[in-house]
Amino acid sequence: MEFSGRKRKIHTSPHAEHYAHALQFYEQPPTENICLSEFETFAVDRVKLLKTVENLGLSYVKMSDDYNKKLNNEAKVLNFPYRPDSDHISHFILRLAYCQTEDLRRWFIQQEVDLFRYRFNDLGREQKLEFLHRNNLQYNAISDKEKVALKDQLISSSYGLSGVTIEHQDFYKVPFQDALDLVRARKVYLQAGYVYIPHQDIITIVLNDFRTKLSKALALTARSLPAVHSDERLQPLLNHLSHAYVGQDYSFQKNVGKISLEQIDSLSGKSYPLCMRQLHQAVRENHHLRHGGRMQYGLFLKGIGLSLEQALQFWKSEFIRGKVDADKFDKAYAYSIRHMFGKEGKRTDYTPYSCMKVILSNPPSQGDHHGCPFRHSDPELLKQKLQFYKVSPSGIEQVGESNFSLNHPNQYFIESQRVLSGGKDIKREMETPQRLQENSAGSTAAREAANASQDLAGMTDLDSIFQDP
């Protein structure tokens, strides 16, 4: 598909009619032969594209005018896909690279879905319908009679629907399981297990469909991976690609033992991001923390270098001051702390949560102290907190617009420590300006504390990966 819009000519290729329209569900794998260098180039270019999609999704509201314009421009700069078949092939190559772990799959699916959404929205109304019909998407329109009966409900269910717009478009009755995003956000009328979707919103269902199919396909791909890896030409490239995404997960064990428990209080004042400071304070004050908070803070502590023994000591000493006696602690809480360190159950060595994870999963509810204060707190309360923690007034104003790329609480900690110890290794790289949606990250607070530009090693620069010896 033409990334940049409707006026450019579609390049012809041997499979022209097959690829007349490059937007697709990627249901059939490609069958052509390509040479190894094309294999590599296609893959790398697509990763760059998906990375762009990811970054823009952090800085701008998805599908907003800014977002679309930027993505359009960036795609032109990348000049990818050069042809519809390179799009097709590169997608399937990346399936091989990103099917192996839950994290990789999740990332790949998220970016592909966003890319698909962007491309679909770029189509005209007729083209959209044509695409849906060509892909056999079954949906049933309700009768006019039913529409009239439901008119008031339909109007009050969807933002932007009026009596007039309802009259002039079809509504589709779809089982709620096929429209989860709309149900989740309560953007649509739901009755007896069916949602009533106006034609203009059909994209959400299409995306759901796409996501589900891709997810299943990746699971299948993972099973055939051993065969692929046995091809020596492919294995190194595929490994490079998947590491290009993962970046740092701050689970390194090399930090262990560098922190002592006595230091924690002062560290929390100097080098903790706001979310962790909040959690630490809650622990000290209440001598307790609920599960969500224990996970978020506990894993952070692991990431900054607390050993299992130290962690057990820390939590136990606090909980004992609360309502929990030593016995109960050993029975009820010690297990989950050991679990965090990979010493129980599945023995997974859990990695500390990134900012995205903190913000997007498990929002705090009554009685909780976890989450991201920049996302989950009242703006007023947040202001007060920042004042309390001695962020300067100008710093507080800037929390609305920041230019810093912070995406992991442990990254904040490391940077802060580095600066405070007069670090020599700070790189002065600024890539694409980043900020989290709506409120910004603890970024500005971080900047206040660290007072330097930041190390963006966590954000991938693909070229550096491929320059490895």
């Binding site: 109007i155 269910s157 007896a192 705090p364 009554q366 009685g367 102290h369 989950h376």
Partner: protein, 413 residues
């Protein structure tokens, strides 16, 4: 507080003579429509000394009974139906043992309302704040039935401070994690942790679901607010005022002393607001919802493999049995009238009345079924009877769906 005989003494009696095993099995067997549905179901037990064992599974009702009577669990949890027998999960090839299906469940816990109830906190409940559970059940039951189309809902008192809902429809049992979380989010209106002051924000258009939920809350709110003295003491008044837009914070409460008049004042200001700033026009509704709308724990509902306390399990701290709640009598439901294990065990010891004696004779005539019959009669002599009866009615309801399925499978439909 009366001295309660310790649980270890009562549990054996409970499990031998009172626990309704045949109804329980009838439920989880689901008509045998799906092969091994019961056999692949995970149970977990909490035994004495806080020993917790997972991945228990049983091949028949008899085995279930035998094991429970042997272990006398303090608490029983029900988990998912897995791909293989849970008690053999270690023998299964790594990665292939996984949860397949489970009822869609909800857990409403009174502790989650601590910031908005003045009568109790933490694990305590009373008749005043129990209204919150009533409201929660009405709102969620309506939504699950009318909006989502579910029909077979079992509401259960947790035994101490909350209620659970088990949605047993086949479609519900087959829901994915994503679908469960979407349902839970659809049903969520109160958001935010300790740091959030305003937990409900409404904007136009007001979705029919919210409208209908407000209808329920409105029915109970005035009385509830009065009982909680939300607008009585200064401290709680301040909490309410924190939810009111700044420019009408100027509510002069000094002139109005009674909570009812104060709420009227708020309502009056609210109706004036409706023609003003669109962002603040629903603050009255937002207040009502923040104080009364159900707060559910999304994590409980999300996971297919999440374990939840079983109906008819005993609550170790209160001794109360987790009994099903008959929604037809919901407004009369009193958690403090729910039978405790010591009560029903006591009731068992009471001498039999005259009308039972003829049954005694019949029993002697047919020794084969003696044990069964004695057991059936046993719970009927106790306060547990009406709850088991209600459970039976619930099972009759789902049984219709099984019959349809079985006929279909045998090719007769």
């Amino acid at each position: 507080l009366e001295t309660i005989p310790p649980l270890p003494d009562l549990l054996p009696l409970y499990y031998r003579r009172l626990f309704p095993f045949s109804q329980y099995y009838r439920w989880l067997y689901y008509g045998g429509v799906q092969k091994n549905y019961f056999q692949n179901r995970e149970f977990s037990f909490t035994l004495k000394d806080d020993i917790y064992v997972r991945y228990q599974s049983f091949s028949s009702q008899a085995e279930l009974e035998k094991e429970i009577q042997k272990m006398n669990p303090y608490k029983i949890d029900i988990g998912a139906v897995y791909s293989h027998k849970p008690n053999q999960h270690n023998t299964v090839k790594s990665g292939t043992f996984h949860a397949l299906e489970k009822e869609l469940v909800f857990d409403i816990d009174m502790t989650d309302y601590d910031d908005v109830r003045t009568c109790c906190s933490a694990a305590d409940i009373c008749s005043k704040c129990w209204t919150l559970m009533t409201i929660a059940i009405r709102i969620l039951d309506r939504a699950l039935r009318d909006d989502f189309g579910f029909q077979h809902l079992l509401w259960v008192y947790s035994g101490r401070r909350g209620v659970h809902c088990w949605v047993c429809d086949e479609a519900a049992r087959k829901l994915s994690v994503a679908a469960r979380s979407a349902v839970a989010e659809y049903l969520t209106l109160v958001k935010g942790g300790e740091e959030t002051v305003k937990k409900v924000v409404l904007t136009d258009p007001i979705h029919p679901f919210i409208r209908k939920s407000l209808d329920v809350v409105e029915k109970y709110f005035t009385d509830y607010a009065h009982e909680q003295a939300i607008l009585g003491h200064n401290k709680s008044v301040d909490k309410v005022l924190a939810l009111v837009p700044e420019d009408i914070l100027f509510i002069d409460f000094q002139s109005e002393k009674t909570p009812e008049k104060r709420w009227d004042l708020i309502k009056a200001k609210a109706s004036m607001k409706k023609v003003g700033n669109p962002k603040q026009q629903y603050f009255q509704e937002e207040i009502m919802l923040q104080y009364c709308y159900p707060r559910l724990d999304v994590n409980v509902s999300k996971g297919v493999n999440h374990l939840l306390k079983s109906p008819f399990s005993v609550h170790p701290k209160t001794g109360r049995i987790s009994v099903p709640i008959d929604l037809k009598e919901l407004d009369k439901f009193d958690p403090f009238a729910v039978p405790t294990i010591s009560l029903i065990c006591e009731e068992l010891d009471q001498p039999r009345t005259g009308e039972k004696e003829s049954e005694d004779k019949k029993e002697k005539e047919n020794e084969n079924n003696a044990t069964e019959r004695r057991k059936i009669r046993d719970y009927k002599r106790t306060s547990l009877a009406k709850y088991v009866k209600y459970f039976d009615q619930f099972l009759d309801g789902i049984a219709c769906t099984w019959k349809g399925e079985l006929l279909k499978k045998s090719g007769m439909l």
